[in-house]
Symmetry: C2
Subunit: 317 residues, 2 copies
């Protein structure tokens, strides 16, 4: 019995920087620069890019140019361009923007839903039916992005039955994919294993993804645990930039799983994923420089086979 | 099929700070302070502590007080006190110091062995027989600590057959346990799975451990992969302090798996391990303050359920 026996044949990497990353920044990244960065990310081999969020501009001012970004980027045939939509109004903008897919947000925690969207979870879930109908009428795929699937900033640990009830409900709505999100970055490999296993048991063959934050440093371990039960789609962000939850001081460099660290692990494991490690590594350095982020991932710090061996060799001379 | 099906019943945590950590520092930590720190670590519930190295004082001057440290620490019945021995002279000192166990060093890489010990691997392996004989005559357990089991700073990736040949050889010498060490911190979960699986296939029931460095950020993922094939002993270091290999600039905060991050993961996974998380967290903060290390682990940065929820709650007021 080992981890490698039933790994998925192909892993899909979803780049979150343009939404989860730019959303976290205090400053507005100019539209031109967003477009340049997205165009660069389109050439790395990632499967999908979440390009922005069709949220009300007052709610997330740093992403107020979502419609413009969608218009200006260069679309590649082999990349899925998706956007976050928090409600039906957002979905209407997504149709207008001609994205390939939407990440339709629902949060498992009642308290979080109330505080962030000023609605009940049932209201959000009822609207999911309309979002799916509108999206499918325009050949747009729908992924239900399930925030607080494990921990909530207000309620603490979320009961697994709550998470599974929401999975059941969005599957009923007819979504194409379901993503569990560790909004807080506090989930562990057992919770990951148990919740995905239960979801797959209830819905065999369901297309499931995992959105990881790395607050507790377990995001690569959680990735491995999820792969072992058949999850084949992972959200990550170049430089790890991302996250909407207030974290302790000193965690400013910690957000989503850094894409470059994820891709390094998958590449070295010999798993198919389609991303060019050198390109994603270079893109991470570029983004880190542009946004003055520092070395927020192990790859950025130099923790790769190539750079470590280079360092040793240069020290020998 | 999932990760959790065959996890070991009990994980043994080995604290490496007093050897791998203090060895890495440029400055000599005064003997009194070493003893205080080891005594504090003895009260955290860790199974073993590697208290020092019986290496020639000129080779590792920061550990030149190994004999004194062994004398002055307070021994607890439920803690195994072990020391590194690089050769038979070191083993003689270990007998004198009355340690419970030795970590008898052998490096898989010929080049590394030559450069670090100025001997051939066969010479080191031949001496292993004498070390085991002397140790067992004094009821001291012997673990073969196999450096460069995956990557070597000079040779790059080490062939798995080389690693397995050394496992065979130390088992022949009669060692009680075998530990594979990622000296470079560059191994990935597939390599971990494959090498341990092969070793267990060749030597069913062999007591095996894993010594991880976190250069590539995969040490918790590697821990999980190793646990899934039955490895139940893990070396780690409070604050992650440790490591003898030259790493790229910017990796000064990266060394062994931080014990507090490992223990957080094991605790939350519900695996038995005996370590008190609060005590190890407090010890990590204490060591970080004493040695001015900064926040070199996710736990030290505040990435725990408790601290994140506290932070959110205080932000709400």
């Amino acid at each position: 019995m080992n981890l490698l026996e039933e790994l998925p044949d192909q892993i899909h990497v979803v780049e979150m920087l343009p939404r989860d990353g730019f959303q976290r920044l205090d400053e507005f990244v100019p539209t031109d620069e967003k477009v340049e960065i997205i165009d660069r990310l389109s050439e790395t081999g990632v499967d999908e890019i979440e390009i922005s969020s069709f949220t009300h501009p007052r709610a997330v001012p740093t992403l107020r140019d979502a419609d413009e970004v969608a218009k200006q980027i260069t679309r590649h045939d082999d990349v899925t361009y998706r956007a976050l939509v928090p409600n039906l109004v957002g979905m209407e903008r997504a149709v207008e923007a001609e994205v390939d897919k939407v990440n339709a947000l629902v949060t498992v925690s009642e308290t979080y839903t109330k505080k962030n969207q000023n609605r009940t979870r049932d209201e959000v879930l009822a609207e999911m039916d309309d979002i799916v109908e509108l999206a499918h009428a325009h050949d747009i795929e729908v992924e239900a992005g399930m925030g607080t699937s494990f921990y909530c900033p207000y309620e603490g640990k979320i009961d697994a039955t709550e998470t599974l009830a929401v999975v059941d409900r969005v599957v009923e709505s007819g979504v194409d994919e379901v993503t569990l999100a560790t909004t807080m970055g506090l989930a562990n490999p057992v919770e990951i294993t148990e919740r995905f296993s239960a979801a797959f048991d209830a819905h065999p063959g369901l297309d499931m993804g995992l959105h990881l934050h790395d607050t507790n440093g377990m995001s690569l371990a959680n990735t491995l645990a999820a792969m072992a039960v058949g999850v084949d789609r992972f959200d990550s962000s170049v430089c790890g930039l991302g996250g909407g939850v207030v974290l302790p001081e000193g965690m400013s460099g910690v957000g989503n799983t850094p894409t470059e660290d994820l891709v390094q692990m998958l590449t070295q494991m010999g798993v198919n994923h389609g991303v060019d490690f050198d390109r994603i590594e270079a893109a991470a350095h570029d983004v880190s420089d542009r946004l003055d982020l520092g070395a927020t991932s192990h790859v950025l710090m130099g923790g790769t086979v190539e750079r470590v061996l280079e360092t040793v060799a240069s020290g020998q001379e």
